[in-house]
Amino acid sequence: MLGSYVVRRLLQLIPVLILVSLAVFLLVRVIPGDPVLVMLGIDPDERGRISEEQYRVVQHQLGLDRPIYVQYLNWADKIIHGDFGLSLASRRPIFEIIFERYPATLYLTATALFVGLIIAIPAGVIAAIRQNTRLDYAAMGFALWGVAMPDFWFALMLIVLFSVKLGWFPSIGYTSPFESPVLFLQHAFLPAIVMGTELAAPLTRYVRAEMLEQLKQDYVRTAWAKGLPSRMVIVKHALRNSLIAAVTVVGLQTARLLGGATIIETVFSWPGVGRLLIDGIYARDYPIVQGAVLLIAVTYVFINLIVDLFYKWLDPRIKLE
């Protein structure tokens, strides 16, 4: 049953992936001006920099003299084979550049996920078991504020406090965790707090709501009646079941973080895919922009699928549709 569901979901992904790739392909085509000049990184008023013959050669090389659907099919064929083209700025293969940057994004997301979980789970559980007390209001206040606060502003405020005033953490820079775990944590601390809060704010609300629901269930009442210690009832019974439901939220939020780290990576000069994308936009390096956007979107689609399947596998009561 799960097998056929997986196959069905994979088949449903095909049209989505085709449309996503089409959108990314068309991105360069909607830029005002001549796509040949755009792909060469030349401004329209600098058209005279290349001769008519050079123009035609480049146009042919890029396949821009063919009908648009042929151009798309050729582009898609190359992408499937891992050929994302060359960066206009560095003339290096885009595939290579993106995968050089990807680990930094993954490490940051993983750290942020850890921070988010250690904030949200205790906060949500405490808010639920102390419902309508000051602790509950504080946790809910944090959740509401955390959702409303722009991440880049929070990042700036943390930089002001911890880098400028106290000098505890650097505001920019990166070291691989395999090179020096301590330096990595120092650099990752502030961005991970920002992204972790972004994850923790909605998750706290969710864990609280789920815990409240579970605490009302008969099996919890039975556990209390049996005289089990509070910690066991809360952690082993109620929390465990609440977390099954929270998996989806964690998964989707993580996928969003992985794809949406653009601003935070830019603020903290973190050399990940998000910053690569923004730098690509600033430098008008459109093949880089295309590659990064496509990679982020495809990662997001697949993480969504994995989360969905994992959730179904985790909780057999969920009906497979």
Binding site: L19, L27, A148, P150, G260, T266, I278
Partner: protein, 300 residues
């Protein structure tokens, strides 16, 4: 029970005013009891008021440069201090409300104009029409968070028009999904059957009978969508991809003072606080509206 009363009234055309009125009274009662929603409504109202009466509320010209007074802390002359060009932060925040609401209204309207019919048609027609439209929506939703808007403004350039399009397009799928599920829940109801029997066309049934009954979840969505768009506009302007200087935009104000954080950290505090408050307002209002339109609330 009350939820059925409105569709009936909408179809027969009788008792409609009463039903809508009593619903409005109910809504006011619920919102008055829900303090957080009331607070949200207050913040949003202050925001709208500020945007409309910006020229009367500002104490300085938001574009007036005064290098001698640059990066000043809050004072009686400049209530929230000045930026790196000596412009009055308070006045720029006040005019920034106008920019934020202008962009948000345009983008949310565009998203609704396209999202509502698409969702309605998908839900009403079903089968291949539904799957085709929804696959397109899935494709738009495959770009997480602000990625699609970033990609679009990267191609089309910054500025008002491009932001309307980028943010409007990004908000289509969520609106379409909400309308689709509302239409799905309505289309099997008796009043639709009755309208069919009287020979009404599909178009009339969908747009004049079913759609008016889908307004409640849509209003909740649109309130939350305002928050999303304002946040997205500030993010894009912060990245330098949104509105060009010297437009008073909250995101752009933050971008401009970032290099001077060491000299005057307060300059970055107020624009960000304003964004947070407005988004908090729309979120609280959206949550409150959800409570109001949840039929269980009426029975309490």
């Amino acid at each position: 029970m009350k939820q059925d009363a409105l569709p009936q009234a909408a179809w027969t055309g009788t008792g409609k005013t009463n039903s809508v009125l009593s619903r409005l009274v109910d809504a006011c009662r619920v919102i008055a009891r829900n303090h957080l929603a009331l607070f949200g409504l207050f913040i949003v109202s202050v925001g709208v008021f500020t945007a409309i009466f910006a020229p009367y509320l500002a104490t300085h010209d938001p574009y007036e440069i005064n290098i001698a007074d640059r990066l000043q802390p809050p004072s009686l002359e400049h209530w929230l201090g000045t930026d790196f060009l000596g412009r009055d932060t308070y006045s720029r925040i006040v005019f920034g409300a106008r920019t934020a609401f202008e962009i948000a209204t345009g983008a949310v309207l565009l998203g609704a104009l396209l999202g509502i019919p698409l969702g309605a048609i998908a839900g009403f027609a079903g089968r291949w029409v539904d799957s085709t439209i929804m696959r397109f929506m899935d494709a738009i939703m495959a770009f997480p968070g602000r990625l699609l808007a970033i990609a679009l403004v990267a191609s089309a350039g910054g500025g008002f028009a491009s932001l309307y399009i980028a943010l409007g397009l990004s908000s289509i799928p969520s609106t379409a999904r909400i309308v689709r599920s509302a239409v799905l829940s309505q289309k099997e109801r008796e009043y639709v059957e009755a309208a069919r029997m009287t020979g009404e066309s599909d178009f009339t049934i969908l747009f004049f009978q079913i759609l008016p009954n889908c307004l409640s979840p849509l209003l909740v969505r649109l309130s939350l969508e305002f928050a999303h768009v304002i946040l997205a506009e500030s993010s894009l302007s912060f990245l330098g991809l949104g509105l060009p200087p010297p437009t008073p935009s909250w995101g752009l104000m933050l971008k401009e003072v970032t290099p001077f954080l060491q000299l005057q950290p307060v300059a970055a505090f107020f624009p960000g606080l304003t964004i947070s408050l407005i988004i908090l307002g729309f979120n609280l209002l959206g949550d409150g509206l959800r409570d109001i339109f949840d039929p269980r609330q009426y029975e309490r």
